[in-house]
């Protein structure tokens, strides 16, 4: 698991000597050698990696992969605080559960994530471009990563089948940050389908479907498959006493509703939705009434589902979508544990073509 290759030792990082980054003692006595040894030196990336790579480490502290700002702010919106640290309980939940998934340099360039399977990806080689299978998938396996690679839901993404990886679409700033902290991932410079498929721009497209639907549908409404949805998340003490852990029921579904996040970049009226793991009592192990604003935020969120196919069941024909009530978010999908705001995303059905 922590075997180091001779090839690595001949590289610049290898020549520095293990102790340069990890600390410890240069002795064959195992216990002494590992005294104050740091297995994850990039947790303090400013001091370790920053010595040579400060062009990256100066912005990395603002990266959403490091801050998990989308999760902390999502949690904050269910409360009536202005920042999580205003509440010892909420800060504790974030740090002891959510924040365990944040990444540092080593989690992407050297080893697998601690919460996945740990260990080195390739005998301590530093991968300039992280491995999608070993690094990205380590954290993003239950939703976008798993859907992209076809381990969750139905078929894999056509882009994956053609050999593309996460890094082919996502710019480096999505991982390394820009120096400005973002509130959620939607504030990042994200890839757009039109970056490559410019000819499908509804304003200039030649084919009828793209022209007719214009900006009223996100690309995923026609081209994504079902996605993984988590319900009734519940936080509890782990059986081994190592802290908090969360669990929830999950279901593969395809639901289209009103866009809860309309913006200049994503002006669509209808989008694919995904249910996020949440319920009003999810934090009751920590305290009562932990989510006073629960009903003001929807539990269904905009989903940029990553399992794109050119042909899907809903784009097979006009009626496969327009008359297919099973794909539209409806009252039946709203659970007792869902917030009132979720109902606002239930769309009026699209015009039937049977006339």
């Amino acid at each position: 698991m922590f075997l180091v290759s001779e090839e690595f030792l001949a590289t610049t990082h290898g020549k520095l000597g293990c102790i340069s980054c990890h600390g410890g003692e240069n002795t064959l006595d195992k216990a002494v050698a590992h005294t104050e040894m740091d297995p994850y030196p990039s947790d303090n990336f400013d001091v370790s990696c920053g010595n040579c790579h400060n062009d990256v480490t100066t912005t990395f502290g603002t990266s959403i992969h490091y801050t998990l700002g989308g999760i902390s702010n999502g949690l904050l919106e269910f409360t009536d605080f202005t920042q999580l640290s205003d509440s010892e309980h909420h800060q504790d939940v974030f740090e002891n559960d959510c924040y365990k998934c944040h990444a540092t340099c080593g989690d992407c360039h050297v080893s697998r994530d601690k919460n996945y399977s740990n260990g080195l990806v390739s005998q301590h080689d530093f991968l300039a471009t992280p491995s999608m299978e070993e690094n990205c998938y380590a954290c993003h396996n239950a939703r976008n990563g798993g859907e992209f690679m076809g381990t969750v839901g139905f078929s894999s993404d056509v882009h994956y089948e053609k050999g593309l990886t996460c890094m082919d679409c996502h710019p480096t700033s999505n991982f390394h940050g820009t120096g400005e902290e973002t509130y959620t991932m939607w504030d990042e410079e994200l890839p757009s389908c039109l970056d490559c498929h410019e000819e499908q721009n509804p304003e200039t497209a030649k084919d009828t479907m793209h022209k007719v639907h214009g900006d009223s549908l996100s690309c995923q409404v026609c081209h994504a498959q079902a996605n993984n949805n988590c319900f009734e998340c519940h936080l509890d003490e782990k059986a081994d006493g190592s802290g908090l852990g969360s669990s929830s029921e999950s279901k593969i579904l395809f639901r289209v509703g009103y866009n809860p996040e309309i913006s200049e970049e994503r002006p669509y009226k209808y989008v694919v939705l995904r249910h996020i793991p949440s319920q009003e009592t999810m934090l009751e192990v920590v305290g009562d009434d932990m989510m006073p604003n629960f009903d003001e935020k929807s539990n269904w969120k905009y989903s940029p589902t990553h399992n794109i196919q050119k042909s899907t069941f809903q784009n097979e024909s006009c009626n496969a979508c327009h008359d297919n009530t099973r794909i539209w978010l409806s009252e039946k999908d709203i659970r007792e544990t869902d917030s009132e705001a979720s109902r606002e995303l239930i769309p009026a059905l699209p015009p039937s073509l049977d006339h």
Partner: protein, 82 residues
């Protein structure tokens, strides 16, 4: 073939071989061949290093690492919920 012509061809051949030889040696001395002697000295490693020979002795030994329990309690490919 008369003798002067044969002699001239032999001398020209010898000159051609010498020319090729001198060219190869010349280029290698100019550094085209990176293994060509002391003209391209190895640069010193520009960073501070710490002797970690004991760490390396164990962490490059497959049997030592295989015998370690560290991290074996970690699940492989667990669903992280992400």
């Amino acid at each position: 073939m008369n003798q002067p012509i044969a002699m001239r061809k032999w001398i020209l051949g010898l000159l051609a071989v010498l020319l090729v030889g001198v060219t190869i040696v010349g280029f290698s001395q100019l550094g085209v061949n990176p293994t060509a002697g002391d003209l391209v000295p190895e640069k010193p490693f520009p960073y501070n290093t710490v002797d970690s020979s004991s760490c390396i002795a164990c962490h490059t030994d497959e049997t030592v690492i295989a015998a370690s329990d560290w991290g074996k309690d970690k699940p492989v490919a667990v669903n992280t919920g992400g």
